[in-house]
Symmetry: C2
Subunit: 346 residues, 2 copies
């Protein structure tokens, strides 16, 4: 009996089959650097409205696939839809980023609802079905959520901060209350990702954007363990569900992260020592990354040099080409094209 070969290069890498030309997609590829995104975004009130409008969100998800023929589409959504569905009202203020009512003390966590409102999230699963129906056969489809630690940092501070001091301090002062918040987020994330799989995604990525600010013990407690619980929860419903973890800034802790978690791939930020990543990480699991988003903004010789360094380090193993963080709004489209040509050798 011949096992069917998946025609999606991105999924092949996640399934342990190296591709001679690495599949490519970019974090935040459905976003502000695209004129067609900005045009569509201008017609909606806020980012959250866009996330909850299936037709528009599906269109935005597909835009970068049409333009650049990326190997994966990532659902257009936001990691803060989960707090929103948990009753912590999220607003996106133009130019200032997300705003929520901060969580200043344990009593707020104690009074929080412990299940996400399914009606609020329902449009997202509709988006997935719409995208799925239109996606070219060779393109993988990625769902996602924020890791509980990262989502909690926004819920506690009520906004983005440079070092997530409010959440770190809350976790030191009220470890039981913080654990309760993390528990709520783990449960909500399991249901959210499980339903994403049911709706049609091929894999999910768990974004732990702020993992890097945690000291080692807290990293294990608040990043690794909750992520493990999410993966186990999702795979109870969907055995073999493909999961990519991305603990940005984990540095030396990345080895513990991939050692503890059964991942299909791990995201590499742009700061990681590539020799360490190849020898200690890629030897155990597929890696995805790690071009500096600013090299893509800069373009020219600097971009070529950085693309080559990424390829040289990782293309001999299981590898998905990507950025080390989201694509920046000021990135010129020509630079994305130049990068793609270089990666695909066209």
């Amino acid at each position: 009996v011949l096992k069917a070969v998946c025609p999606k290069p991105f999924l092949n890498v996640l399934d342990g089959k190296r591709q001679s030309v690495p599949p490519v997609w970019l974090m935040r590829q459905a976003g502000r650097y695209l004129p067609e995104y900005r045009e569509l975004r201008a017609k909606t009130e806020s980012v959250l409205d866009l996330c909850f409008s299936p037709k528009l969100a599906a269109e935005v998800t597909l835009q970068p696939i049409r333009r650049f023929n990326f190997d994966a589409a990532i659902l257009f959504s936001d990691i803060l839809v989960i707090p929103h569905a948990l009753g912590r009202r999220v607003r996106f203020v133009t130019g200032e980023g997300p705003q929520l009512d901060p969580i200043s003390e344990p009593s707020i966590v104690a009074k929080m609802r412990d299940k996400a409102d399914r009606t609020i999230l329902a449009p997202i699963y509709e988006t997935i079905a719409l995208v799925k129906a239109k996606l070219p056969a060779q393109v993988g489809f990625l769902g996602f959520c924020g890791a509980p630690w990262t989502v909690a940092t926004y819920m506690i501070a009520g906004e983005g901060t440079p070092d997530q001091a409010p959440a770190r301090l809350f976790a030191y002062r009220y470890p039981e209350s913080f654990a309760q918040l993390i528990d709520i987020l783990v449960d909500a994330s399991v249901e959210y990702l499980t339903t994403q799989f049911k709706a049609g995604v091929d894999a999910v990525q768990i974004f732990d954007t702020w993992a890097g600010v945690l000291p080692p013990d807290e990293f294990v407690r608040w990043s690794v363990v909750p992520t493990e619980r999410i993966i186990n929860g999702v795979r109870r419903e969907h055995p073999g569900a493909r999961v990519i973890g991305f603990p940005r800034g984990a540095g030396t802790m990345l080895e513990n992260y991939v050692g503890a978690l059964k991942l299909n791939a791990v995201g590499l930020d742009w700061m990681i020592d590539r020799e360490f990543a190849r020898e200690c990480i890629q030897s155990r699991v597929a890696v995805q990354g790690n071009l500096d988003p600013l090299a893509l903004v800069a373009g020219g010789a600097a971009l070529d040099r950085e693309v080559d360094a990424v390829l040289e380090a990782f293309s001999s193993g299981l590898f998905v080409f990507n950025l080390g963080h989201g694509i920046l709004p000021q990135t010129p489209l020509e630079h994305v094209e130049r990068m793609l040509k270089r990666v695909r050798g066209a």
Copy 2:
């Protein structure tokens, strides 16, 4: 012939002699968490005025020694005195941090003065002489400068930013101009630290606060190599000059950093994997750090646990107890006392 034993525990560690009770000092120990500092600071126009007023700066340097009997005093100054002395006017705006005229293009670097104005820096060496005369015999005296990369990030952006994107982008776009700026900063730093040693400091620390945002090749080029040139330059004048390097956020790149540089100690931030730091770093050079400054703000059981974890990881080797970053203004004095008792076993 008996070699004289240095009575300063801090210097003993830097000289390779482990102390049974680790010496302790705190980054930014002369600062806003101290009521006596705030009182004195209120009498001066700006932080820069305070840096350039020898009597006041000496007093501020000594305040934390009097109150806490720390094992090292660190010169009260600011890493931005060097750009100031290079003619890039620095202002400190209350609540907003430092502001400089940004460097937006290579022509500005080309027109910059290439030597720091000695008259501007002269008061700092006076401060050193005043402190030296009053410092208890067992207290080490530490001078410092910012590493060229970190100083350049402020000079280019004209302010602090969360990820130093402006400097990273400038370095990608104009590598030759950026190298010229780094050269100017290397030369100015060599003269600055050399003169600090002449004035009486026992050791210097090179703060590379923003090393962690650099991709690996850029880390070597803009952090490691310029730091090496500074160390070599200083030791040409002062052979055996003691140097501590502190590349905050270096993560997996820390091994390359300590491998390339002849340091007396290396600073560890609060995010580093302690097992990695003990096995790969402390086995080669003394380490200094790495308590999370937020644990010191939190106090209580969380503080005790974190202090114990730091001691357990590092106190069997060459070790200076410190924070993993500067002490925060909101840190209660009682927490510092509690931490000191625990470290000193009193």
